[in-house]
């Protein structure tokens, strides 16, 4: 017990972090009694990734993850960890990004004035949206879509086909006919998909 407490105390701002991300909010009153195992585990992982021990991660730390290099949209996902203009990510942000993928807890009381939880449906969607929207103009343009498609479909289809797929995809979602997909349109097009299930990771529960 003592060891977990001391580990926790080493992590800066741990309580704020848990409040914000909702990670392990079990029994708030004895928060430190219940081991927030996830935070500790993530912190260990964070330290393992941070090979040079700088206390923050750089893009190349992520690039060192072998499996991530195989991921066709891996670089975009890495990019999502870094807010624009910043070259580093600290533990706080790291956990906050990962908290997007916590399953939605149903039994958690809904306080009307509490801020939207970070793992809410629209936040999950926003995360996915910004993977497309690389120039951060709030719209997925045809080119942006095409890049993602090309990365994912690889060599199997020709450029021609890829373009027509992209055209069609935009056409499908594009409601205001500006030939781009705004976030609102993005959300509408995925209305019927159970995002809570599809964008959640079990062990972050």
């Amino acid at each position: 017990m003592g060891s977990t407490n001391s580990t926790l105390l080493k992590i800066p701002n741990v309580e704020v972090l848990m409040q914000e991300t909702g990670l392990k909010l079990v029994a708030e009153e004895n928060c430190l009694n219940v081991s927030p195992a996830h935070i500790i585990r993530l912190h260990d992982r964070f330290k393992a990734l941070d090979k040079e021990g700088r206390g923050h991660l750089c893009p190349h730390d992520f690039g060192a993850i072998k499996e991530l290099a195989m991921n066709p949209i891996g670089d975009r996902i890495i990019g999502a960890f870094f807010s624009p203009g910043k070259e580093t990510v600290d533990f706080h942000t790291f956990v906050k990004i990962l908290a997007h993928f916590r399953p939605v807890d149903k039994d958690r009381p809904k306080e009307p004035n509490s801020p939207e939880p970070i793992n809410s449906r629209s936040n999950k969607l926003k995360f996915a949206f910004q993977l497309y929207d690389q120039d951060k103009d709030g719209k997925i343009s045809r080119d942006e879509l095409l890049q993602v498609l090309r990365a994912m479909l690889g060599m199997q289809v020709t450029d021609e086909q890829l373009e027509s797929i992209a055209d069609r995809t935009i056409q499908e979602a594009d409601l205001d006919r500006d030939d781009t997909i705004s976030f609102e349109e993005f959300r509408k097009s995925l209305e019927k998909i159970n995002i809570d299930h599809k964008m959640s990771i079990r062990f972050l529960r």
Partner: protein, 848 residues
Amino acid sequence: MYNFSQGFLVISTAMLEVDSAEVGLNYSLKSSATENISTSTNDSTGGHGSSTITTLPIVIWKWHHVETPYLVALWILTCWLCKLVAELNHNITSVIPESGLLIMMGFILGGIVWGADKAQTFKLIPVNFFYYLLPQIVLDASYCMPNKLFFSNLGAILVHAVIGTCWNAGTVGIALWGCYEGGAMGNLNIGLLQFLLFGALMSAVDPVAVIAVFEEVHVNEVLYILVFGESLLNDGVTVVLYNVFDAFVSLGGPKINAAEIIKGIISFFVVSFGGSFLGVVFAVLISMLTRVTKNVQVIEAGFIIVLGYLSYLTAEMLSLSAILSITFCGVCCQKYITANMDEKSVTTLRYVLKVMANGSETMIFVFLGLSAIDQNIWVWNTGFILLTILFIVIFRFMGVFFLNWLLNQSRLIPIDLTDQFVMGYGGLRGAVAYGLAASLDEKKIPEKNLMLGTTLIVVYFTVILQGITMKPLVQWLKVKKATQSDLTLNGKMNNRVFEHVLTAMEDICGRMGDNWWTRHWNYFEDKYVCWLLMTSDARKHKDPIFGVFHKLNLEDAKKYVNEGESKGSLAFIRNYDNASVDFKKQLALEYADIMPDIMNDMSEYDFGIDNVPVTSVMKNPLPSVSLNVHELDRKSMLNDLSAHHLLDQHLYKSRRDNRPTYSRSHYNTSENPDEMQEIFQRTMRSRLESFKSAKMGVNPAKKLSKHPKKDSTHKPNGKPADPHRTHPYGDEDFEFSADSASSSEIAGHFPRRNTNAPGAGVDNPAFIPEMDMSPPMRNPPWQTETANNMAVAPSQTAQGRLPWTPTNLRHLAPLRMSTRSTDSFAMADASVDDEAPEEKSGSHHTRL
């Protein structure tokens, strides 16, 4: 003869009863008619075949030659007619599930048979059931299994099918034995082992009725797959368990020691996993076979059925689990054979399997009902029967709740309580239990008939009673329904993105989650399995996103044609809308490898006729298939005329007319490869000619025409990166068109399409040689024509649709040349010089 007539009397009384029982006259007539045939012929023709002939007979009555197949066919017909009758009234089928109705039909049929013969003449023999009826059902179910859902829930399904089944078998057997020892059933000659054997055969869950209800109500897919998958695997496990206990029973109580029990457990796992493995091996074989069956497409589908059946028989031969074998065979090969085989064969296979499975299902249920009419099996023991029913229900629920609780500890999406309840309630017993009970050995189990009778009662009880209450229960409990998601590219694509994101997050967290397995399997599959099991063609097109795209396009094209046809005119073909684009793309995809250039040109040509970039038409307020086809038609008449002229002159005329329409080995006569070759050669020749003449500089028009073609080959590169960049044609519009603002806006959004659009039709090299006739070569041949027409009908909208007029067309092509063409020697052409200032003024204009 006497027997028969007496039988006939009984039949007619039975008929009357049937009628009063509201089953429908035609059914009873037909079934009794078949009865008559089968029984009467039996009697009356007994000695005919053996009599020696005195003179040459013209025809002879040879009943005995055909007796067996004839009876089989008649019974199949009868059973299917039962289904027909059962399905006649939807008010009844919506209350009573079809399986229950069929069992009731079986009762009636059985009554008729019994009335005729005073004995049970026909019954379901276990051998027939296990070798001829069951494999079809299992193969169909496994082949149609939603693959991805099945494998992603495989863990839960296996837990329920293996542990749940063993739990049911053990507890029911032991509890019954305990009650027996307690004296609840009087004096029976049954030991603990026999009770366990009975428990094992009672644990086979038959989902037919449940699945039918689920499909009707659209329950959520997790519940669906859990019940469906469990029941499928559970049959296999039950048979294995049954065999193990059967071996124990024949071994006899005293000889059983720890070693034998361990052997039994080992045998359980060897038989189950061996069977599953054998199934996978057969799946690999089938998939590899379908790689090379392209030339025997007619029987392609047959291979899968035969090999699937062989996997069943082989497993049976090796005393492995046959049901598990055929199950895994179907589940595993599905993806690859669907990709490998022709689309028609896939459809054929699906339908054939469905016909066979539904047919044998119908027969099984009818015969289950028919089996009731057998005095021998009815050894009534109230305690035994009631306790059996009680225990199977109780232990089923206990098992389901406990296992689900266990599973929920680690599931991302826990299984709801209502779902669990429905799962427990869905534990209907069916034909497999009956088949196993019927194959009990009377020498080893003296109380076989009691067990068989009890099994039948349990089957009737669960299928009819639970089946009827299932639907109200599902509705009353408000079981979560499946979310009806349409097939959309966005959905498919984003699912893919989500998967990638999740695996990436797992990687970043350094944990091995579910996605880790999925991803690694996908990687492995991509790299090795597909290489081994798929044809190279199928590999190319297997991407699901592409598949969805393909499917959507096909749907559009179909809808488009249907809607157009319902207008009663072929004019719709010339209508512009997205469907036409998609359709063309579709065509282009299919023929891309055969004649890519033609398709390229065709597409440009088409855009050329449209005059307005096709994508922009989609944005028009016009419905996708315009209601006023004729109005549109009139507008584009002048273009259509020229287009038609060109097409008429240059399109290849098919030579298929005088080919035979019937072919033994093909559904239809497919495209003649020679024809393709000819088209290709023609095109190439005309291209060569146009190229030559362009090189010589003989004809300026040819030079002009060359550029769009070049342009088209560089299309992807030629596309401007900046979507806001104003396109030259937008301002041409601006100069003369009334609704120029909107069209230039449109043009701005679709720069690529626009680039290729104007003039492309004329410049199609395939059409060049014949155009040499028109004297003023500098202008495209239809310039004069259009000019004349313009004078006749220069309507406002028509102009909107024609963003350029012949006059400004003159500087259109060079304009593009200067901005976009990569062809350097064309750039040097003199025509550029005098057009350059024009370009400047044009772009200047836009900036205003």
